[in-house]
């Protein structure tokens, strides 16, 4: 990829074990590292626990064991609001805009924890520049936007807290190819603007083309990780996890 990545991870999940209720654990000693300024992509079959990794990282799910380290601090067991305050934003799967509110209101809600009005205004201006669609449809109802546009509003909203890490859960879900391209372009722009990204995506090949580091997840553990380009070139992985050889 030609990018120099930081040796100390910005976000690290160490030996995470977690499950839902009394069912068998979904994550079994999972360890993932996200360096600063990198896109790390989790790929794997359905049920591997990809979305669960993001829920644990953002505090929506409390791990049964293991540690979450964010920027050198142990944040294990913190709730979503505390994680947001620590600089970790989570863009949920599907469309999570407030449909009956304007794009402006949606974006401003992203900065709800910021008390200083001037900072909120400055951040809103910044995300409007970063996402032209958000700027163009600023006063439109978010529910009237197309799927791809709504996803960009969600990205913009997540950047309002100036996060160190953004967790993206299947950002291309339900989008047409053109909108998918736009969304992945925006993911790269977020990375280039200095935000680390932990990405979960069903469209594994497309995600690995965008990412710096890839992790293949299966049965609750990371089986293989490394530079995303190496994973893409690995024929065995292609057969097992990436839907066959590239055309």
């Amino acid at each position: 990829m030609g990018r120099t990545l930081a040796s100390v991870p910005l976000l690290e999940l160490r030996g995470i074990e977690v499950g839902y209720g009394r069912a068998a654990p979904v994550l079994r000693g999972l360890t993932v590292q996200v360096p600063a300024g990198a896109i790390v992509c989790l790929v794997g079959p359905n049920g591997a626990g990809k979305s669960t990794v993001l829920k644990v990282a953002s505090g929506l799910l409390r791990p049964q064991s293991g540690q979450i380290i964010l920027d050198g601090q142990d944040v294990t067991g913190q709730g979503p609001q505390q994680m947001l305050a620590c600089g970790l934003a989570h863009v949920l799967q599907g469309h999570s805009v407030f449909r009956e509110m304007t794009v402006a209101e949606n974006v401003l809600l992203g900065g709800y924890t910021i008390k200083d009005k001037a900072v909120v205004t400055e951040r809103a201006e910044r995300v409007r520049k970063l996402f032209p669609v958000v700027d163009e449809r600023w006063n439109a109802l978010a529910g009237l936007l197309s799927g791809g546009q709504q996803k960009q509003v969600e990205f913009a909203r997540s950047l309002m807290v100036n996060p160190k890490v953004v967790l993206l859960d299947e950002p291309s879900m339900g989008l047409d190819p053109k909108s998918t391209n736009t969304v992945f372009e925006q993911v790269v722009r977020m990375r280039d603007a200095g935000t680390a990204v932990l990405l979960v995506e069903q469209n594994a090949r497309r995600a690995l083309q965008t990412a710096d580091i890839g992790c293949v997840l299966d049965l609750g553990r990371v089986h293989i990780s490394g530079p995303a380009s190496d994973l893409l070139d690995n024929p065995l992985l292609g057969e097992l996890y990436l839907g066959g050889r590239p055309a």
Partner: protein, 342 residues
């Protein structure tokens, strides 16, 4: 937080001024005291449904128990005058403060549940208070009722109505001003996020429970003020009418009819429902026909105007004045080719 377009201001301002003028001149235009009393009833409904709309409109929590809060305001005012010997309006404000304080533990318990569960909890509040106020006859007068001394005993009936008409109009203006200020505030933005999706709002850092509790208390205070002022005007209280699920249901109906997300929605709803109810009472006496009509009206609103009359009419006007509100950006084939080249 929300910007108001110039077109809306230019369209809305004359309508607002005309409405204010009509409200202020109504006592002079009303040909008899009965019609003036109908005006007071409509204003009372408007105050109560606007008070309900602080909770229902901002958070989406449908309370059928607000009749109990109005009843508490009415009985609180009456008891503070008759038992504690307080002056009428001091009793009104003291009763409002007591109801607002009571709303904190009530809200603390009721707001832990959502949706249908919250509705049931709110109904339970009305029924419990009805039983308490009916059976505690030594304090409340029970089913015999409670007579509230008139605050202006020297005034004749038409003058009494005229004074209370303006008091209710002033209270309505205050409630509307508060609603308008909250609607445009950061607090209001958080409340509207609760209405859209409470979990999502929480994940973005909105202190959802604290916000719901604050707005419930504000809503309870205005409801109690409306109930207390009604007690001072009407002068006679009966638990069956004060703690009635029907009065809470009317608040919901009026707000839904006009539009819960609109400042003047509950006022318009109160105008329609208030006049309608009086018409049925005059034409058909003590029959349950007004209940049938209310039920039909609610069905029509839910089926044909789920957002209420004002948003529906605004949408019709919007099609003429805001043609650029289309959801999909229209681009020509040439523009698409240009975008693809880039």
């Amino acid at each position: 937080m929300r910007s108001v377009s110039k077109a809306r201001v230019w369209l809305g301002l004359p309508v607002l001024l005309a409405g204010v003028g009509l409200v202020l001149s109504f006592p002079s235009l009303a040909p008899n005291p009965y019609l003036l009393s109908v005006g007071i009833v409509v204003l009372n409904y408007a105050v109560l449904s606007t008070a309900w709309n602080f909770m229902g409109g901002f958070t989406g929590y449908i309370s059928l128990g607000h009749g109990a809060l109005a009843g508490l305001g009415a009985y609180g005012t009456a008891l503070l005058i008759t038992k504690a010997g307080m002056p009428s309006f001091a009793a009104l404000f003291a009763a409002t403060a007591i109801v607002a304080l009571l709303a904190i533990p009530l809200g603390f318990a009721a707001l832990r549940v959502r949706g249908a569960s919250f509705v049931i909890v709110s109904i339970a509040l009305v029924l419990i208070l009805l039983l308490v106020f009916q059976s505690w006859a030594s304090l409340t007068g029970g089913s015999s009722g409670l007579v509230v001394p008139r605050p202006f005993p020297q005034l004749l009936r038409p003058e009494h109505h005229r004074v209370f008409y303006y008091l209710f109009a002033g209270l309505l203006a205050l409630a509307l001003l508060c609603w308008w200020l909250i609607d445009r505030s950061r607090f209001g933005l958080g409340l509207k996020a609760v209405r859209e999706d409470e979990d999502k709002a929480e994940s973005l850092g909105t202190p959802t429970f604290a916000y719901k509790l604050v707005i419930f208390t504000v809503s309870a205070a205005f409801t109690a003020l409306g109930g207390g002022l009604y007690a001072l005007w009407f002068g006679d209280l009966d638990p069956v009418f004060q703690f009635s699920i029907l009065s809470g249901a009317y608040m919901v109906l009026m707000a839904l009819l006009g539009g819960v997300r609109n400042l003047f929605g509950p006022v318009l709803g109160a105008l329609i429902v208030g006049i309608g109810l009086e018409y049925f009472k005059v034409e058909y006496g003590n029959t349950p026909l007004h209940l049938v009509a209310s039920g039909l009206l609610l069905a029509v609103v839910v089926m044909f105007m789920p957002d209420g009359v004002i948003p529906s009419v605004s949408n019709v006007f919007g099609r003429f004045f805001q043609p650029t509100r289309a959801s999909i950006r229209e681009v020509s084939a040439e523009q698409l080719r240009e975008e693809a080249r880039r």
